[in-house]
């Protein structure tokens, strides 16, 4: 993120991802309440559908970006020493990327197996 874009873009990103996360979570809850999949096979088939797969992937990325903006805000507010802040930010990025990769690989595995 360039210095110039780090304010407005982060803010817009936070709002947009919040919207998507909200909508997807509602849809997910709806499915789980009214038409829950029975057994692993049905779960797997559900996620193997390309549309649902992509929607889920966008959901995962949204959560990661949303978490990134939020944690970055907290760190900018409360962690003043620059070295410590950079270290923590780096750790958060690593953690989030790891979560993202793990979630994506399960989505891919579902389609292969």
């Amino acid at each position: 993120m360039s210095r110039k874009a780090s304010g407005l873009k982060a803010w817009v990103l936070q709002r947009a991802t919040a919207l998507y996360i909200g909508l997807f979570t509602l849809a997910l809850l709806g499915v789980l309440l009214f038409d829950p999949p029975h057994g692993y096979a049905q779960w797997r088939d559900g996620f193997a559908d390309p549309l649902i797969g992509i929607a889920t992937l966008v959901y995962i990325v949204s959560i990661l970006l949303h978490a990134w903006v939020g944690v970055r805000d907290v760190l900018i507010d409360y962690v003043r020493p620059l070295g410590l802040r950079v270290t923590l930010l780096a750790l958060v990025v690593l953690g989030l990327v790891a979560c993202g990769l793990w979630a994506s690989q399960s989505l891919i595995l579902v389609r292969l197996v």
């Binding site: 210095r3 110039k4 780090s6 304010g7 407005l8 803010w11 970055r72 900018i76 507010d77």
Partner: protein
């Protein structure tokens, strides 16, 4: 009525402490009158005040946890013992007197004056009544500082975050039909700090003795930025 007042003398005290005073209350007494009475009891007590009618903005203090102008705060509305402290987050000079330089620096940083690119007209620059109405709720700010010193984001970053007062002023000039520096003003507000440290906590709205709404002004700025960006 019992008053607990924060005392601090930089020559003597390591940190502020509370001192109790007993003040006789009369009908219609304002907090400023009580502070004046306390000063009569102890001449070394220091606080700022001037107009006595909520216009000059010099007697902002923290009363029972909220920032108020002492001169327009009826004592009858307060719960005893009344705890009076200086504005939170500001360096204390003495007793209730704090150093507001960072607050004024943030005000200055938003260039609180009209900027014209066009040559100045012979007479005044005309505004329609509707254009003038857009400035209501913005121009009335008296720079008392009740809002910014109640804002957690300003406590953490008073050097980098403009704070509600300066952002309200920024919007006052962005909203002015006579001002021609919109792009320049918006560019100056970019980055993670100056505007975007505001997390819409709304402490500023609650604190403003003039009933102004910096949070809404900040929302308008963000929206204008978005409109100009897409």
């Amino acid at each position: 009525m019992k008053f607990l007042v924060s005392r601090y003398n930089p020559d003597r005290d390591a940190k502020p402490h509370m001192q109790a005073f007993e003040v006789e209350v009369w009908r219609g007494m304002m907090l400023r009158d009580a502070l004046l009475e306390i000063k009569r009891q102890d001449e070394s007590f220091a606080f700022r005040h001037s107009c006595g009618e909520g216009v000059c903005g010099s007697d902002g203090v923290n009363v029972n946890g909220s920032n108020r102008l002492a001169c327009i705060t009826p004592v009858a509305d307060l719960k005893a013992p009344v705890e009076i402290r200086p504005f939170p987050g500001r360096p204390i000079i003495r007793d209730l007197v704090v150093d507001m330089s960072q607050f004024y620096a943030q005000y200055k940083a938003v260039e609180p004056w009209l900027v014209r690119e066009d040559p100045m007209p012979e007479q005044e620059i005309l505004q329609s009544p509707a254009e003038r109405d857009r400035l209501d709720g913005l121009y009335e700010c008296i720079l008392c500082g009740c809002c910014s010193t109640a804002c957690p984001s300003f406590w953490w970053n008073p050097d980098k975050f403009h704070g509600p007062q300066a952002l309200l002023t920024a919007w006052r000039f962005l909203a002015d039909s006579r001002d021609q520096a919109t792009e320049h003003r918006l560019d100056a507000l970019e980055g993670p700090y100056r505007l975007f440290r505001c997390h819409t906590i709304m402490s500023c709205v609650e604190a403003c003795p003039k009933g102004l709404n910096p949070t809404r002004a900040i929302g308008h700025i963000k929206q204008l930025m978005l409109e100009k960006a897409i």
